[in-house]
Structure formats: structure tokens, C-alpha cells
């Protein structure tokens, strides 16, 4: 009966959310890769005060900002930053989380206790606060953003990996591999890892959305990408004073963030339905 309220929300079917999410993400990736081709002007250099704060229209589809730069072009280039941060930080998070979780689950003992303790510690600290601290130490910039977001959110993949390994360890073929003389590392990487990859991909995809939001938050707070380089978060940050007078400055970066994160979340959900047979949202 506790599931009742869920039924009130019409649920996107696994296939649909996968396709919509995949489409949105593919669009974002395309925009980022093809930025020089589809941008109309240079996002940084083409400032022209004659064109300042022109509302969206035929000439400037998303309008221009106070320096007269084309918002559309800045959003197109901003996709590069957002996706680099999203993908880069999740690769880092997954590498750390999976190697810790895999070895902790497989070896157990004091190493497992240590990793579990460390994971709990990481989960106890709000990751945005942690990232803020790292940014404050390293200073603004893309590298520090990757470090701040890539070193702070690995606890989820670590816990998932560890739990999956624990349930897999008793499987016949893991035992068989030991009996056939496989070494620990070989078992971990050829027998265990491929079999737990599904949920980890889902976690990483969902984490990308979170990372993009965190990038926006950090840039909004002035700790991320430094102006004049365009990042969706820093554009929002610059626009906040004029949200009533020049709304298009904040609407379009906001929509870009919204669509990309929505796409990643839908993609993650869709992938979970495909990859995780235990998922409760799986279509029958």
C-alpha cells in the first residue's frame, strides 16, 4: 500500500526514458563536440557593446549579455565545460570507488573495515562543502573543478561495488576461478568486474548529472570557471542581478543545465532497467 502514491505519477516506460535521456545526452555531446561549427560567434572575444542586452530574436536567438556577447554561442561552448566536468569527474570517481570497493569486498578483513569506514566518513561530509573546501585550496579553474568533484563523490560507486562483490563472491565461477589457479587480481578484473559493471554504469551516469549541477553551483559561487570563459554555472552567476530586468541571461543557461541533467538522469534510469535485473522499475 505504501507504493500507492507512485501510481499517481504516470511512469515513463524503461524504453522511453532511455531514448529521451539518450537523445538529450547525445544532443549535449554533439553540441560540445561541434561547438566551433555551430556557434555563431566567438563566445569570449566577440563582445560588442552596441549589441548589449538585446532580447532573443532573429539576429540573436538567445539574446545577448551586458557585453553584447551572443548567449547562444556561449551556451554552445559552455556545454564543453559542463560535459568535461561531468564525464571527467565521474571517470575519476568510478576509478577510485570501484578499485576501493572491489578490493574491499573481495579481500575483506581489515582492508574492508578501513574502506567502509572511509566511505562512511565521506558520506557524512556534504560533498558540495567538501568540494568547496578543495576549490578554496586549489583556486578556481577546470583542473581544480575536476579534482574537487572527482575526489569527493566516489563513495556511492564504492559501496555499490563492494556490495555487488560480496554477493558475487560465493558464485560458483568465482570459486572455480580460484580452484583453477587464477590470482586475486585476475579474478577481480576478469571474473568479478564485468559482472558488476551494470549498476556501476548507472551510478556513474546519474553521478554525471550531479557533477554538472555541482559545477554550476561552484561556478555560481565564483569558485568554478572564471569569467569571461563561458560555463553554464558562471553565466547564471553573472545573470543573477538582472534576473528581473534581463531574464534571458539566466533562462537559457538554466534550461541547458536542466535538459542535460534531466537527460543524464533519464538515461541512468533507462540503463538501470536494462542492466539491473533486480530493479523494481523493470518492465514485466
Amino acid at each position: 500500500m505504501t507504493l500507492m502514491p507512485l501510481k499517481l505519477v504516470p511512469k515513463l516506460r524503461g524504453g522511453t526514458s532511455l531514448w529521451i535521456g539518450g537523445g538529450l545526452v547525445a544532443l549535449a555531446v554533439f553540441v560540445a563536440v561541434a561547438a566551433p561549427l555551430i556557434a555563431r560567434t566567438d563566445p569570449v572575444m566577440d563582445a560588442n557593446l552596441m549589441n548589449a542586452e538585446i532580447p532573443p530574436g532573429w539576429e540573436f536567438p538567445f539574446g545577448t549579455d551586458a557585453q553584447g556577447r551572443d548567449i547562444y554561442s556561449r551556451i554552445v561552448y559552455g556545454a564543453r565545460i559542463s560535459l568535461t566536468v561531468g564525464i571527467g569527474s565521474q571517470i575519476l570517481n568510478s576509478l577510485i570507488g570501484v578499485s576501493l570497493g572491489l578490493t574491499a569486498g573481495y579481500w575483506g578483513g581489515w582492508w574492508d573495515d578501513f574502506v567502509t569506514g572511509l566511505t562512511n566518513l565521506m558520506l557524512a561530509i556534504p560533498s558540495l562543502i567538501f568540494a568547496l573546501a578543495i576549490m578554496a585550496i586549489l583556486g578556481p579553474g577546470l583542473t581544480s573543478l575536476l579534482a574537487a568533484l572527482g575526489l569527493t563523490a566516489w563513495s556511492y560507486s564504492c559501496r555499490i561495488a563492494r556490495a555487488q562483490v560480496l554477493s558475487l563472491k560465493s558464485q560458483g565461477y568465482i570459486q572455480a576461478a580460484r580452484i583453477l589457479g587464477y590470482g586475486d587480481l585476475r579474478i577481480m578484473f576478469t571474473q568479478v568486474l564485468p559482472n558488476i559493471l551494470g549498476p556501476l554504469i548507472v551510478i556513474a551516469t546519474l553521478g554525471m548529472g550531479t557533477a554538472i549541477l555541482s559545477e554550476a553551483a561552484l561556478s555560481f559561487l565564483g569558485l568554478g570557471i572564471r569569467p569571461p570563459f563561458p560555463s553554464w554555472g558562471s553565466m547564471l552567476s553573472e545573470a543573477r542581478d538582472q534576473i528581473n530586468t534581463v531574464p534571458w541571461l539566466s533562462i537559457f543557461p538554466g534550461v541547458a543545465i536542466f535538459l542535460t541533467v534531466l537527460g543524464l538522469n533519464l538515461l541512468g534510469d533507462g540503463l538501470r532497467d536494462i542492466l539491473d535485473p533486480q530493479s523494481t522499475t523493470r518492465r514485466s
Binding site: 560458483g172 576461478a177 580460484r178 580452484i179 583453477l180 589457479g181 587464477y182 559482472n195
Partner: protein, 325 residues
């Protein structure tokens, strides 16, 4: 016996449970000659499977090696380093087990899983290893092996999977093959094929077999000598024919008598299948003296107090009973 390959001497396996330690197996001694097929028979929980794990050096908490020696080809291996045991497993000792359904990695084509043995233990290149994997599949009579090597485990039947397991276990031509209930999960018709295949391949490669089973008939068919385990101890060891013709221990006699035989019913009329009265004692409550005494028709006062020692019999046989014969 043409030279000893594996000698297990006074093996004791400890089971830690809270503060107390039980002996899951004790005083287990047997010897397997080169190319010999040796059977280890007993009920579930009698210690036969953990004996195999002890030989492989794979006992895990709460089980541990409590004592005794394991000698492979003249070399003591019970205290060998993990790296040495790893090199031994799969290359000199192969193993097949009960569940062919779960013993193969579901995400890896079977050919690759066989080939990995050559890469792992013989440093073969992958292309060479894949060729040899195809040969190995042909040897276990898998039809059209050139196509089957690309199949995933779920595309194969239980019997086929067990053939693949045999191919993996025998890939590096080990000196000893441990088969732990290799046919329990299979159809009776497939069982016979698998057993024949194992016997044929091991004879061709000169591989000795340690066959672990609860099926006395199966073991007696395949093996030259058979040991019977009960509650952690070997109670009798005899050549295979003798174990049927002249079982010495009351437990073995009970087992042999409880086997249904074709035509017996018509000979003896409406006689019921005989069973051994009682149940196997739990490890926490092994009786003092002979562990079979609560179920034994011949139990006397001495059986209740003194554990029987091993009595050697002619023809490499032994029995552990105060009143054998």
C-alpha cells in the same frame, strides 16, 4: 599401484565455531597412485568435499588445516606458499564440481574460458590458446567446436557445460583430477556419458582421479579403489570389487544393502529396500567411541568408549571397526 602421486597422511580439518573447535575431518589418510582412479564416498557433511579443498589449499574460515601431511609427487604441499599453490591449481591438480550451471563465467565465451588456462599456466599467446581451446572442446566430444568456442555458457545444456568444465580442468594435462560430485546435477543418461568421458580422457592422459561422490555404485564402477567416509573419518578402504563383494564395516554393509538391484525384488519376493537406521550425528554431538555406534547393529560396550583404530587388511585395504567382517 605404479608409484604414489598423492599421499594424504593423518589429515585433520578444524572447524572453528565460537570458542570451540571441532574436527570436521580427522585422521584421514589415503594414497593415490599415478593414473589411478580413487573414490571417496560418504553422506553429505562427512568431510569428503573439504578433504578435496584441503588438498587444493583452499580451506577458508571457519575451516582450517589442523594437522597432517599432503604429499604431491614426493613434495609436501600442506604449507606451500599461496603463489605456489596457485601455480599448482589448474596446472597439476584440476578440479570439476557439482554445479556446471554456475561454475562458468556467464559473461565470457566458453572458448575463452578454456583458453585462459593455457595463457595463465603455460604462458601461451591468446591466438594459440584459442586454437588449443578448440582442440580441447573436440576432445570432450562437443560437436562443431569451431562454432561452440564462441558460445556463452547459457547457450549450452548442462551436459555440455560439464564437458566444458572437464575441458578446462584437463586443459593443462594435470596429474590429478579431483571430481567433486561431477554428475549430481545431471540427468542419468548424461551422467553415464560424462563419467565415460572422464575415464577415457584420464586414461589417455595418465591423469589420476580423486572421485568424490555419495553414489557408491558410480564410484565403484569408475574407480580401482574406494574409501568410505563417515562423520569425518575414513571407516573403510578396499578395492572397488571387494567393497561390494565383501564390505567389512557395518556402515559400508548398510550402504551396499541399501542399493536397489535389478531383479532382486522378483528373487526375494516383496522385500523392502533396507535402510541404515538413525541419522548422521551432527558435528557438535559426535558420539564418544566409534561414531557409528548409535546406528550400528553390532555395537558393544567397547564401541561406546573406545574409538576403533585402523585395522589393515590384505590388498591395500583397511577398516576402522572393533567388530569388522
Amino acid at each position: 599401484m605404479t608409484g604414489s602421486l598423492l599421499k594424504v597422511d593423518g589429515l585433520r580439518i578444524a572447524l572453528a565455531s565460537g570458542q570451540t573447535t571441532y574436527n570436521a575431518a580427522e585422521d584421514v589418510s589415503f594414497e593415490i597412485g599415478r593414473g589411478e582412479a580413487f573414490g571417496l564416498v560418504g553422506e553429505s557433511g562427512c568431510g569428503k568435499s573439504i578433504t578435496a579443498l584441503a588438498i587444493m589449499g583452499l580451506l577458508k574460515r571457519p575451516l582450517s588445516l589442523g594437522g597432517g601431511r599432503i604429499v604431491l609427487d614426493g613434495e609436501e604441499i600442506q604449507n606451500a606458499s599461496p603463489a605456489k599453490m596457485r601455480a599448482l591449481r589448474g596446472s597439476r591438480i584440476g578440479m570439476i564440481f557439482q554445479e556446471p550451471m554456475t561454475a562458468l563465467n556467464p559473461l565470457s565465451p566458453v572458448g575463452r574460458q578454456i583458453a585462459e588456462m593455457f595463457v595463465l599456466h603455460q604462458r601461451a599467446s591468446w591466438s594459440e590458446a584459442m586454437d588449443r581451446a578448440e582442440d580441447a572442446l573436440r576432445q570432450v566430444h562437443v560437436p562443431s567446436p569451431e562454432r561452440r568456442i564462441k558460445d556463452f555458457p547459457h547457450q549450452l545444456s548442462g551436459g555440455m557445460r560439464q564437458r566444458v568444465m572437464i575441458a578446462i580442468a584437463l586443459a593443462c594435462s594435470p596429474e590429478l583430477l579431483i571430481a567433486d560430485e561431477p554428475t549430481t546435477a545431471l540427468d542419468v543418461t548424461v551422467q553415464a556419458e560424462i563419467i565415460d568421458l572422464m575415464a577415457e580422457l584420464c586414461a589417455a592422459k595418465g591423469t589420476a582421479i580423486l572421485m568424490i561422490s555419495h553414489d557408491l555404485g558410480l564410484v565403484a564402477n569408475m574407480c580401482q579403489r574406494v574409501a568410505v567416509m563417515y562423520a569425518g573419518r575414513i571407516v573403510e578402504a578396499q578395492p572397488a570389487e571387494a567393497i561390494f563383494a565383501a564390505p567389512q564395516h557395518p556402515y559400508t554393509q548398510g550402504l551396499v544393502n541399501s542399493l536397489p538391484r535389478l531383479g532382486e525384488r522378483s528373487k526375494r519376493g516383496q522385500q523392502r529396500l533396507r535402510e541404515i537406521a538413525g541419522v548422521v550425528p551432527s558435528i557438535q554431538a559426535y558420539p564418544t567411541g566409534c561414531r557409528f555406534n548409535p546406528r550400528c547393529p553390532r555395537a558393544s560396550d567397547v564401541c561406546l568408549t573406545t574409538p576403533p583404530a585402523i585395522t589393515p587388511l590384505p590388498a591395500d585395504s583397511l577398516v576402522r571397526c572393533h567388530h569388522h567382517g
